[in-house]
Amino acid sequence: MLSTPALVLAMMLFSLGLVGLLSRRNILYMLLSLEIMLNAASLAFIAGGARWGQVDGEIMFLFILTLAAAEVSVALGIVLQLSYRFHTLDVDAFSEMRG
């Protein structure tokens, strides 16, 4: 069965996405890392569905796909606005709220 190596691969991809999200300061790369992490989650769902022979994994993949499409469209709009207003993509420059 390929489910166990697929789960290991999903774990590796998620870790890579998390490392990218934490280490990069360019907001575009942070979005790409989010996409990688979402992909790792869907891979884990598909592997689970393949392991148990159920269709629920693929259905969860469809929902993750919908979520990713909505998230990317809104987030890229935010990226465009930030680049218009601040003329940079560095997230450390967007700390106006001093949070």
Partner: protein, 165 residues
């Protein structure tokens, strides 16, 4: 079949590593497209053919095109920058990884009937029945998510003029 999985997994991990370590956005996007296609091959090997097709069409097609549009909108697309993008160093890495995937797909097509991975109609039918049966509330919620996404993207995507601020 196992070795195909491991080669595709290696391609995925390598391409993802290049995505998070690259400096140029367009190069990173090329590598991410390769990683998504390799992931689609893994989905296929796991028996989820419909998910593999959707991964290529929606992730590799639509979402990556959105990213590339935004990168093009952000950067001043000067001629010399395009010239540096079109040098062989840009696409030779993703090209090699994609060639590995092409070899795998060619192998799958060549030996197709001897492998236990055929499109199972019962499984696809089960996905559809479950999606519009027990999971119908999820479909409704997805539509309720997509409409605010559309409106939000339209609202955020406008260019704010200087005087209206």
């Amino acid at each position: 079949m196992e070795i195909l999985f491991y080669i595709a997994a290696a391609v995925t991990v390598l391409a993802t590593l290049r995505v998070i370590t690259h400096v140029h956005a367009v190069h990173a996007l090329l590598y991410l497209v390769v990683a998504l296609i390799a992931l689609a091959l893994i989905f296929y090997l796991l028996g989820a053919q419909f998910a593999a097709a959707l991964e290529i069409i929606i992730y590799g097609g639509a979402i990556m095109v959105l990213f590339i549009f935004v990168v093009m909108l952000l950067g001043p697309l000067a001629v010399e920058q395009e010239r540096t993008w079109l040098t062989p160093g840009t696409w030779v890495g993703p090209g090699i990884l994609a060639l590995v995937l092409l070899g795998e797909v060619g192998y799958l097509i060549a030996v197709g009937d001897h492998l236990p991975i055929t499109v199972s109609e019962a499984r696809q039918k089960g996905v559809s029945i479950a999606l519009y049966g027990p999971y119908i509330i999820g479909v409704e919620l997805a539509s309720m998510l997509l409409l605010p996404g559309l409106i939000g993207a339209y609202h955020l995507g406008r260019r704010v003029s200087k005087e209206s601020r």
